[in-house]
C-alpha cells in the first residue's frame, strides 16, 4: 500500500518535472546560452592551461577554476529560471488548473524545484568535457573530484530551492526573481563585505615591545657579537582588526563552502595546488586570533650571532589549514536549511483549498 503510494507520489512528481522542463527549458535560446557558456569555459580552460604550465603542475588549478565558474554561472542564471516557477504560473492562469488535478501541493512544489535544479545542473554537464580535460592533466584526486562536484551540485540545488520557494511566497514574479538574486548576492558578496567590515570595525590594541642593540663588537674571527649594549624596552601600540571573531560569516559563502569541502591538496613546501586550497587556507587563517603582545629582542639574537636565528616565517599554508576547524558543513547546513525552509514556506502559501489569499492576488 505504502509502496504504491510512494510510486504514485514519484510518478506525479515526474509528470511535473517533465512538464516544467518542456515549458521552460525548451527552445533555441536555452541552447545558445549553454553554447556560450561552453565557449567561455573553453576559453578559460585554454588560458589557464597556457598560464599555469599545467602539463607540469597538474590540472588542479584548471579543475577548481571551472568548478567555480559553473557555480558563478549557475547562481547567475538559476534565479531567473526558478524565481517565477509558481507565481509565474499563477500570473498566466495555469497554476489553479494544475491544482484542481490529483497533483498534491508537495508534488507541485518539489517538481518545480527538481526541474529548476536539473536546469542548473545542465551547466555542470556542459562543463564536463573541460573538467575531464583537467583531470586528464593529472594530480586531481578522486576525493577532490567527488566532493567538489557533489557540493557544487548541492549549492546549485539550494539556489533553485530558494528561487522556487520565493516564487511561491511572493505574488509578483519580478519581486521573487529580484529577491532570489539578492539572496545569492548576500551569500556570495554580502558575507565577504560583512566579514571585512565587522572585522575592521572591531579593532583591538596590540602591544609590541622592542629591545635594540645600541652598540656591540663584532669578532671577525668567529663571527660573534660581544659587548652588546642593549636599549631599554621601547613599547609601541597599534590597533589590530579581529577577523577571528567573524570567520564563521565566511562559512556561509558558497564559494568558501565548495573550497573548504574539497580535501586540501598541497605540494612539498606546503603550498596549495588548487584554487580550492588557496581559498580554504585564506578562510581558515581568519580563525587564528592575532598576536596582541609581541616582543622583539634584537640583543638576544645578536648574542646568538644572528646566524642560527630561527627566524619565524610563520606556519606554512598547509599547517594553517590543518590547525583550523573545517567550516564547510556549517555553511552547507545553513544553505540547506535556507532551501528547505523556502520550499516549506512556498508549500504553505500554495496549499489548496486556500484559507488566505496573498494580497491582491487572484487564485486562478
Amino acid at each position: 500500500m505504502s509502496v504504491s503510494r510512494n510510486r504514485m507520489f514519484f510518478t506525479g512528481l515526474g509528470v511535473i518535472v517533465v512538464l516544467e522542463l518542456r515549458q521552460r527549458v525548451r527552445g533555441v535560446a536555452w541552447y545558445v546560452l549553454l553554447g556560450v557558456f561552453m565557449l567561455l569555459v573553453g576559453i578559460v580552460t585554454f588560458l589557464l592551461w597556457l598560464a599555469s604550465a599545467a602539463w607540469m603542475a597538474g590540472g588542479g588549478d584548471i579543475f577548481s577554476t571551472i568548478i567555480f565558474f559553473v557555480l558563478l554561472l549557475g547562481t547567475l542564471v538559476s534565479p531567473a529560471l526558478s524565481g517565477n516557477a509558481i507565481n509565474g504560473d499563477r500570473e498566466i492562469g495555469i497554476l489553479a488548473t494544475t491544482q484542481v488535478t490529483l497533483i498534491s501541493t508537495w508534488q507541485l512544489v518539489l517538481g518545480k524545484f527538481v526541474a529548476a535544479w536539473i536546469t542548473a545542473l545542465a551547466f555542470l554537464a556542459a562543463a564536463l568535457p573541460f573538467l575531464i580535460f583537467a583531470v586528464v592533466l593529472g594530480k586531481v584526486s578522486i576525493g577532490t573530484i567527488t566532493v567538489s562536484v557533489l557540493v557544487l551540485a548541492a549549492e546549485l540545488g539550494v539556489i533553485a530551492a530558494v528561487g522556487v520557494g520565493l516564487s511561491g511566497v511572493l505574488t509578483r514574479p519580478l519581486f521573487s526573481i529580484v529577491l532570489t538574486y539578492l539572496v545569492v548576492a548576500a551569500l556570495s558578496l554580502g558575507t565577504l563585505i560583512a566579514f571585512a567590515l565587522l572585522g575592521t570595525a572591531t579593532q583591538q590594541q596590540a602591544t609590541r615591545v622592542n629591545y635594540h642593540v645600541i652598540s656591540s663588537t663584532f669578532d671577525e674571527q668567529n663571527g660573534k657579537q660581544s659587548d652588546i649594549v642593549c636599549s631599554t624596552a621601547s613599547t609601541s601600540t597599534y590597533d589590530l582588526p579581529r577577523f577571528d571573531y567573524y570567520w564563521w560569516i565566511l562559512a556561509a559563502n558558497p564559494y568558501s563552502v565548495v573550497a573548504d569541502a574539497a580535501p586540501g591538496s598541497f605540494d612539498a613546501s606546503g603550498y596549495p595546488t588548487d584554487l580550492f586550497g588557496q581559498i580554504a587556507v585564506a578562510v581558515r587563517s581568519a580563525q587564528a586570533p592575532p598576536a596582541l603582545y609581541t616582543e622583539y629582542n634584537e640583543c638576544e639574537e645578536a648574542s646568538r650571532g644572528y646566524l642560527d636565528s630561527n627566524f619565524d616565517s610563520g606556519p606554512t599554508a598547509e599547517q594553517t589549514y590543518d590547525n583550523a576547524v573545517p567550516s564547510w558543513f556549517i555553511g552547507l547546513a545553513i544553505h540547506l536549511g535556507l532551501g528547505v525552509g523556502a520550499l516549506i514556506w512556498a508549500w504553505r502559501r500554495t496549499r489548496t483549498p486556500a484559507r488566505h489569499l496573498p494580497n491582491g492576488s487572484r487564485i486562478a
Binding site: 504514485m8 510518478t11 506525479g12 509528470v15 512538464l19 518542456r22 515549458q23 525548451r26 527552445g27 498566466i92 492562469g93 495555469i94 489553479a96 488548473t97 494544475t98 491544482q99 484542481v100 488535478t101 490529483l102 497533483i103 489548496t352 483549498p353 486556500a354 484559507r355 489569499l357 487572484r362 487564485i363 486562478a364
Partner: protein
C-alpha cells in the same frame, strides 16, 4: 407531468428531465465512467476576503443529470463560488458537498470527480493542445496510453483537430476556450463547473457546446454553468440559480420574479391591422398593456402567460396575420432583471418605504 415544450416557468428545483430533445437524439458513446449520482449541494456558504464579503449566503443544489445556470451580475460572487466548488478556496461558513465529499477535508475525492473550466484562459504556452491534454491526463493519474487516447478523443470532441499540434499560445480565444473545456473533461468527471464557457465561441461552437453539455447531463453529469449570455443558458439549463450581492435568490423570490409582468413582442405581416386590432375594444384585456413599437415589432406588457395566450387568440380572431409572437426577453433574463431590481430596492429599504 409536463410534456416537452410545454410552457412552465423555470425555477430553482429539480430538473425537468426529458425537457430537451437533444439528449434524446444523441446516443451515449464510449466514455462510460461510473458516476456516483449525487451532484453538488451547497448550503449557506459564505466567504469574505478581508473586509470584502464576496459571498454572503449561497444555497443551491445541482442534481446529477442536470444543467443548472448560475446567473448574477459582475461581482456577485459567481467565480468565488466556483473556486470553492473546485476545492481551491475554503468557505468561511456553510458547507459544500460534491458527490457527498467535502472539498475542504477530502479535496482529492472531489478533484477526482470534478472538472473545472476557469474564467481565465490559461494553458501551458509552449505545449500543443494535444500535449496539454495528455499532460492533464497524466496529472489525473492516467497512464501514458490512457492519456494519449483520451487526448485524441477530446480533440475530436471539441473540434480542435486542425490546431491540435500547434503551441497553445498561437490559438485564438475561441480555440483556447475549447481547449479549456477539453481539459476539464479529461478525467470524465461526474461534476462539471464551467465559468463562462461560451465566451469567445462562434455560433457553431456554441451550438455544439450546448449539445455536448446536454449529452453529458443525459449521461448523468451534474453541470453548473455560469454565463452572461442568458439567452444561451435559457436553451440548455434545466434550472437556474440567481446570485446577487453574494446571496442566492430563494425559490419564492424566483417564482415571484418569473411570474411578474413581462414584455412580449408581436410582429404582423400587416402592421396597420395589428395596430387597429390592439386599439379595438375587447382584444387587449386588463392584464395587457401596449407599450410601443421598436424596430422589431410592437411591444406589449403582459401580466402572465394565460393573458399572452388570450391576447394571441384575440388577435388571430380579429384577422391579424401574426407571424411572430413571443417574450421580448428570455426567461432567465426576465427573472434576472427582475431580481436585480428587487435587490436594488432592498439596498435602500427605508427610502422605498417612505415613498410607498
Amino acid at each position: 407531468m409536463t410534456l416537452p415544450g410545454e410552457c412552465v416557468p423555470r425555477q430553482q428545483g429539480p430538473p425537468r428531465l426529458g425537457a430537451t430533445g437533444v439528449r434524446m437524439a444523441i446516443t451515449t458513446d464510449s466514455d462510460s465512467t461510473a458516476i456516483t449520482p449525487s451532484g453538488i449541494a451547497v448550503t449557506a456558504v459564505g466567504r469574505s476576503f478581508g473586509a470584502v464579503s464576496a459571498l454572503r449566503e449561497a444555497t443551491l443544489s445541482v442534481p446529477a443529470g442536470s444543467v443548472t445556470a448560475l446567473i448574477g451580475p459582475n461581482g456577485s460572487g459567481k467565480t468565488t463560488l466556483m473556486l470553492m466548488l473546485a476545492s481551491l478556496l475554503t468557505p468561511d461558513t456553510g458547507s459544500i458537498r460534491i458527490n457527498g465529499h467535502d472539498p475542504v477535508t477530502a479535496p482529492d475525492r472531489v478533484r477526482a470527480v470534478t472538472g473545472w473550466m476557469p474564467d481565465t484562459l490559461g494553458s501551458w504556452p509552449s505545449l500543443s493542445a494535444r500535449a496539454a491534454l495528455q499532460t492533464t491526463g497524466r496529472l489525473y493519474r492516467l497512464t501514458h496510453e490512457q492519456a494519449a487516447v483520451r487526448a485524441d478523443e477530446l480533440i475530436t470532441l471539441t473540434d480542435l483537430t486542425d490546431f491540435a499540434d500547434r503551441p497553445s499560445r498561437v490559438l485564438s480565444r475561441g480555440q483556447k476556450q475549447r481547449l479549456s473545456l477539453a481539459r476539464a473533461l479529461v478525467h470524465s468527471p461526474g461534476v462539471l463547473l464551467l465559468d463562462e464557457p461560451a465566451s469567445g465561441l462562434d455560433p457553431a461552437a456554441r451550438t455544439s457546446l450546448r449539445q455536448l453539455l446536454r449529452r453529458l447531463a443525459a449521461e448523468g453529469a451534474a453541470i453548473l454553468v455560469s454565463s452572461h449570455v442568458l439567452a444561451e443558458l435559457d436553451e440548455m439549463a434545466d434550472a437556474a440559480v440567481y446570485l446577487a450581492e453574494g446571496r442566492t435568490a430563494t425559490p419564492e423570490q424566483v417564482a415571484a420574479a418569473g411570474a411578474s409582468a413581462r414584455t412580449w413582442r408581436i410582429r404582423s405581416l400587416n402592421a396597420a391591422s395589428l395596430e387597429r386590432a390592439l386599439a379595438a375594444p375587447g382584444v387587449v384585456t386588463a392584464l395587457v398593456q401596449v407599450i410601443g413599437v421598436d424596430q422589431l415589432g410592437t411591444l406589449v406588457q403582459v401580466h402572465d402567460e394565460p393573458s399572452a395566450a388570450a391576447l394571441l387568440h384575440n388577435l388571430v380572431l380579429s384577422g391579424v396575420p401574426v407571424c411572430d409572437f413571443g417574450p421580448a426577453v428570455g426567461n432567465l433574463e426576465h427573472t434576472f432583471l427582475d431580481l436585480a431590481r428587487e435587490a436594488r430596492k432592498e439596498i435602500a429599504p427605508n427610502s422605498a418605504e417612505f415613498t410607498a
